[in-house]
C-alpha cells in the first residue's frame, strides 16, 4: 500500500462515517512502515529482523463523546465496514469528552517527498562488517537499522495530507576487558553511515578505557559528547517544553524567561525530515523552543492547546495523555572556529574535538544511561555514565575514569553562565524507544553532580 492508496483509504473512512453520522468529527490516519534491523553481538550478526506494519487510526467524536480505534487489518471490504461500524457503536457508549478540541482546519501541505528504501539485509550487514573489521579483533555489539514510513491523513473538515520519510541508524560498541566504547549516529540514508569510522572510534574508546581510575564523587565540569547531550534534549522536550506539563505546572519552562545560557538555542524541525503533519493533521513547522537562552515556545497538540487557549504547534503523538512533544529537536551548533584539529585523539567524537584544547579540567562523557526523572518540575535526573569516561586536563585526555552515578537538574546544567562551549558540529542521534531524532552538538558545561562511583 503506497501513499495514494493510504490517502484514498483515509478519505474513504471519513466518507463512511460522514454518511452515517454527518455531524461527527472524524480524523483518520493511515500508515505503512517497513523497518529492518540487523543486530550483532560477540562480533557476529545474531538477530536480523524486518517487518511490515500497516494500520488505520480513527478518532471519532459524536454527541460529546470521543473514542479512538486503530487496526492493522481493516483496509478493505467487510473488515473496513466492520471497523467503521464498531467505531460508531463504541462511541455511543463512550464517556463524555468535554475537552474535545475539534478537528484541524483544512490547510495546504506540500506533497510527500522521496523517502529512502529500507534496502537489503546485505547493505546493513556490510555496514556491520565494516564496524567489526575496524575493531581489530575487539568484541563488538550493536545494530544497523533502516526504516521507511508513508502516512496519510484526512478529517471531516476536508483536511488531507500525506508524507513519506525514512532514516538509517547505527549504534555500536567495542569492548575490551569489560570496558566499552560507543559510536552512534542517525542519518537520512544508509549510505551516510560510515561503519568503519564508527568502529574505529568505538574501538579507540574501548582501548583507551583500560585501567580506569575511580574519582571521588562531587561536582565536575564536563564535556558531553553528542551521544550524551541527546539525553538532555530528550528530557527537556518531554518534561519541560511539553505544553501539557506547562499547563499543569509540572514544568520548569516559562516562556519569555532567560532560563538557559545565551549559547543555547533549541529548535524542533520535523519538516526537515519530511514529516509535514502531526497525528492531529496539524502542519508541522520549524519551532524555536529556546532562542539564545530565552524560552521561546512550548509544544502543543490540539487538545492541550485548547486547554491553554493557544494554537497547536503540530506536536500531537496521536491521543493518549502524553501531550505534544517535540521529537525532532536539537541544540543549534556553536560558531565554528575552523577545521577540527588533526591531533584530536581518535577516541573523541569529532563533534567534540575542537572543544578539547581550551579545557583546563573536565570529565569527558561519551554516553548517559538509564536516566530517570526524580522530579519533573525541577527536572532532576539520576542516571549513569557509560561507554567511555576520561579526565581532561590542560586540553589533553590524561586518564580513563570509571563510570559515575549522577543526580543532576538538567535545566540547571544549561542555566545562564553554566555553558562554557557549544560544539560547532551537530550530529543526528537516534532515540532508543520512540521514533525521534535529536540533532545535537557537544557541550562543555561548568558543573555536573556526580553522586558516586558506579561500583559503589
Amino acid at each position: 500500500m503506497r501513499v495514494r492508496e493510504l490517502t484514498d483509504l483515509a478519505a474513504t473512512v471519513v466518507e463512511l462515517i460522514g454518511n452515517a453520522e454527518p455531524n461527527a468529527d472524524v480524523e483518520v490516519t493511515t500508515d505503512r512502515t517497513e523497518q529492518a534491523l540487523t543486530r550483532f553481538a560477540n562480533s557476529a550478526i545474531h538477530q536480523n529482523v524486518a517487518d511490515e506494519s500497516a494500520g488505520i487510526r480513527l478518532r471519532l467524536h459524536l454527541d460529546g463523546r470521543t473514542i479512538t480505534l486503530s487496526s492493522s487489518t481493516a483496509s478493505t471490504g467487510d473488515e473496513l465496514s466492520g471497523f467503521v461500524d464498531r467505531a460508531l457503536h463504541t462511541v455511543r457508549s463512550g464517556p463524555a469528552d468535554p475537552g474535545w478540541p475539534g478537528v484541524a482546519p483544512a490547510s495546504a501541505l506540500p506533497p510527500p517527498g522521496d523517502a529512502p528504501l529500507v534496502g537489503a539485509a546485505a547493505e546493513r550487514a556490510a555496514v556491520v562488517r565494516a564496524f567489526v573489521d575496524a575493531a581489530g579483533g575487539l568484541e563488538t555489539a550493536g545494530y544497523c537499522r533502516t526504516t521507511r514510513s508513508e502516512r496519510a491523513f484526512a478529517n471531516s473538515a476536508g483536511h488531507a495530507a500525506a508524507a513519506a520519510f525514512g532514516s538509517s541508524a547505527f549504534d555500536g560498541i567495542a569492548r575490551r576487558d569489560g570496558s566499552d566504547g560507543v559510536a552512534r549516529v542517525e542519518t537520512d540514508t544508509i549510505g551516510e553511515v560510515d561503519g568503519h569510522a564508527l568502529g574505529a572510534r568505538a574501538t579507540a574508546k574501548a582501548i583507551a578505557s583500560a585501567n580506569a581510575v575511580e574519582l571521588p564523587a562531587g561536582r565536575y565540569p564536563v564535556l558531553l559528547e553528542p551521544t550524551a547531550v541527546a539525553d538532555l534534549v530528550s528530557m527537556l522536550v518531554v518534561y519541560g517544553f511539553n505544553g501539557k506539563a506547562v499547563t499543569q505546572r509540572q514544568s520548569f519552562a516559562e516562556v519569555g524567561t532567560a532560563q538557559f545560557d545565551a549559547s543555547i538555542t533549541l529548535v524542533d524541525d520535523a519538516p526537515s525530515l519530511g514529516i509535514t503533519f502531526d497525528a492531529d493533521g496539524t502542519p508541522t513547522a520549524r519551532r524555536v523552543l529556546v532562542d539564545a537562552g530565552t524560552t521561546a515556545a512550548v509544544t502543543h497538540d490540539r487538545r492541550t492547546a485548547a486547554e491553554s487557549s493557544t494554537f497547536s504547534t503540530g506536536h500531537s503523538l496521536g491521543g493518549g495523555s502524553t501531550g505534544g512533544v517535540a521529537l525532532h529537536a536539537g541544540i543549534s551548533p556553536g560558531a565554528s572556529t575552523g577545521p577540527v584539529p588533526d591531533d584530536i585523539p581518535e577516541l573523541v567524537d569529532p563533534a567534540a574535538g575542537s572543544l578539547l584544547a581550551s579545557i583546563d579540567r573536565a570529565i569527558l562523557v561519551s554516553d548517559l544511561w538509564y536516566t530517570r526523572v526524580l522530579d519533573p518540575k525541577s527536572l532532576v535526573v539520576t542516571g549513569l555514565t557509560r561507554n567511555g569516561v576520561w579526565l581532561i586536563e590542560n586540553g589533553e585526555i590524561t586518564a580513563p575514569v570509571k563510570n559515575f552515578r549522577f543526580t543532576q537538574a538538567y535545566p540547571a546544567a544549561l542555566a545562564p553562565g553554566a555553558v562554557h562551549q557549544v560544539g560547532p558540529i551537530a550530529v543526528g542521534i537516534p532515540e532508543g524507544w520512540i521514533p525521534a531524532r535529536w540533532t545535537v552538538p557537544a557541550l562543555h558545561l561548568a558543573s555536573w553532580n556526580f553522586t558516586g562511583g558506579a561500583s559503589g
Binding site: N42, I45, D51, G55, Q408
Partner: protein
C-alpha cells in the same frame, strides 16, 4: 482509558493481527513479520525470514543449536471471572471519573486514572511439530494524585504508579477498590509537600512490597537473563554482573532470599501455558537460600551455555522476534509480618511505592526513588518523609536483607523494555515487605 481531573482524557482500542516467522540459519536468526494471515503472506514471510538469516553470513558467528525439547501440542487459557472487554465503557468511565474527582476534592492538582486491557490469541507452529494455541487475557488499573509545590511536585499513587495488572479479568480492577483509596492518596500527596526531606546517610531500610517488586525486577530479574549474561544484549540493555562459572555457588543474598521463576502462578502477569518457542511453563529456582542457582533462558541461549532448560522466551507480539524475558520472578514468603519488621526496628526508614528507577548496564549499581517514606523509631512508624531515595550494589544489598514478610503480593509490571526494535514485556514479581541494613539513603541533586 485515561482519566484526568474527573474527565475522560482518552479512550482507545487497538486491534492487530499478523504472522511473524523466525528462521535459524547458521549463527543467526532471521525474522520477518507481516500484518496479513493469507497463505501468500505467510509464505512470503517464511521466505524473507530465511533470506534475512542467510544474509547474516557476512558477519558469522559459531553455528547456533537449539536445546532439544519435547515437541509440544496443546492449548492454554487463563481463568477470567469477568471478561474485561464485556464491561460497559460507561461503567469503566464512571469508575475513573469518580476516583479522579474524589482525588481532586481532596486537594490533588492533577488526578489521573488508567485502566488497560489486553486480549491476545496466538498460535505457535514450528518446523519441529509444535502446535500450540493460547488465549491470554490481562488487565489492571491504577490512580495517582499529583500536587504542585514551590519548585517541586509530589505524587501518591495506588496501588502503584503503573497500576496493578494480572492475567485475569475485570475482577482484578474491582478488588483494587480505586475509589476507596482515592481520598487517602490525595491527602498523602498534599501532606508530602510540607513533610521534611528524607535524611542523607546510611540507615536501616524497610521497603514496601511494590517497591521490592521493582527491586527484584531490576537487580535480579534482568541480571539472570541468559542472553544478557552471554553478551547478546551488550550494546543496549547491557550485560550482567553474573558469571555462569558461578552458577550454583555464588552468594547473591542472605539466607532469606529465595527467588523463583514461575510462569504457572494463577493470575500473575507473567503467567502463560507455553513460552513463545513452545516450551511448557515450569517453575524453577533462581536463588535458593541466597545462592544463585537458575537463569531465564531460551533454547538457543541454553544450548550455548550448556544449560538443560529454556522456557522464558517471549515476544510482545507477532511483529517482534521472541527473546529471553522475565516471566514471574519473585520472592517466596519470609517468616515475618510487616508489623513485626517495624516493631523490630529501632532506627530506620520505611519507603513505599516506586517513583524512579535507574540501574547500570551490568545490573549492579541502582538508585531508586519512592513516593513516600516514614521514619521508624523504637519499633513504630513516625514522621512522613518526602523525596526518599536509596542506592546500592545488588549483591551487597540483597545480602543485607535480614527480615522478610510472608505477605506476598504478585505485582505485575506491564512496561518492561528490552530488545531492538524495542519490545514491551509483561512480567510478574511476587514480593513482600522486607528489611535491609546499612543502606545509603537521601541522594539528591
Amino acid at each position: 482509558m485515561d482519566a484526568r481531573n474527573g474527565e475522560i482524557e482518552d479512550v482507545s482500542r487497538h486491534d492487530d493481527l499478523g504472522i511473524g516467522v523466525r528462521a535459524l540459519v547458521g549463527s543467526s536468526w532471521g525474522f520477518y513479520a507481516v500484518p496479513d494471515l493469507s497463505d501468500a503472506a505467510a509464505t512470503t514471510a517464511g521466505e524473507r525470514a530465511a533470506e534475512i538469516a542467510a544474509a547474516s553470513a557476512m558477519v558469522p558467528g559459531r553455528p547456533t543449536e537449539l536445546l532439544a525439547t519435547e515437541v509440544a501440542q496443546g492449548s492454554w487459557a487463563n481463568t477470567v471471572d469477568v471478561d474485561p472487554l464485556g464491561v460497559p465503557l460507561s461503567e469503566k468511565g464512571d469508575l475513573l471519573v469518580a476516583a479522579t474527582s474524589a482525588m481532586r476534592e481532596h486537594g490533588a492538582d492533577i488526578a489521573e486514572g488508567i485502566y488497560q486491557i489486553w486480549d491476545t490469541t496466538k498460535w505457535f507452529v514450528s518446523s519441529e511439530g509444535h502446535r500450540i494455541d493460547q488465549h491470554v487475557r490481562e488487565c489492571g488499573a491504577g490512580i495517582s494524585s499529583t500536587v504542585i509545590g514551590d519548585g517541586e511536585t509530589q505524587v501518591r499513587s495506588y496501588p502503584s504508579r503503573r497500576g496493578q495488572y494480572g492475567t485475569n479479568g475485570w475482577e482484578n480492577v474491582t478488588r483494587l477498590d480505586l475509589l476507596g483509596n482515592a481520598a487517602r492518596i490525595a491527602d498523602e500527596s498534599k501532606a508530602l509537600l510540607s513533610a521534611p526531606s528524607c535524611p542523607v546517610g546510611e540507615t536501616t531500610l524497610i521497603l514496601g512490597s511494590e517497591q521490592l517488586a521493582l527491586q527484584i525486577h531490576e537487580s535480579v530479574g534482568h541480571a539472570i537473563e541468559l542472553d544478557r549474561i552471554l553478551g547478546w544484549e551488550a550494546a543496549f540493555a547491557g550485560t550482567s554482573w553474573l558469571d555462569l562459572d558461578q552458577l550454583g555457588s555464588l552468594r547473591y543474598g542472605s539466607e532469606l532470599m529465595n527467588i523463583t521463576i514461575d510462569p504457572t502462578i494463577p493470575g500473575a502477569l507473567g503467567s502463560f501455558g507455553y513460552d513463545d518457542e513452545g516450551t511448557p511453563a515450569t517453575p524453577r529456582d533462581a536463588v535458593r537460600n541466597g545462592t544463585w542457582v537458575g537463569v531465564l533462558a531460551g533454547r538457543d541461549s541454553a544450548s550455548v551455555a550448556g544449560i538443560d532448560y529454556g522456557g522464558s522466551v517471549r515476544s510482545d507480539g507477532w511483529a517482534r522476534l521472541p527473546m529471553v524475558r522475565m516471566t514471574n520472578v519473585g520472592l517466596e514468603p519470609g517468616p515475618h509480618t510487616f508489623e513485626e519488621i517495624v516493631a523490630g526496628t529501632d532506627d530506620g526508614i520505611y519507603m513505599e511505592t516506586n517513583r524512579s528507577w535507574s540501574i547500570d548496564d551490568k545490573r549492579l549499581n541502582f538508585q531508586f526513588g519512592c513516593e513516600i517514606a516514614y521514619e521508624v523509631r523504637n519499633g513504630a512508624l513516625g514522621r512522613m518523609l518526602k523525596n526518599p531515595t536509596y542506592t546500592g550494589i545488588g549483591p551487597q544489598f540483597w545480602q543485607s536483607m535480614d527480615m522478610l514478610s510472608s505477605e506476598i503480593v504478585p505485582w505485575g509490571t506491564p512496561n518492561c523494555g528490552k530488545g531492538q526494535p524495542g519490545q514491551v514485556g509483561h512480567t510478574g514479581h511476587p514480593a513482600a515487605p522486607a528489611r535491609f541494613r546499612n543502606v545509603r539513603v537521601g541522594v539528591r541533586a
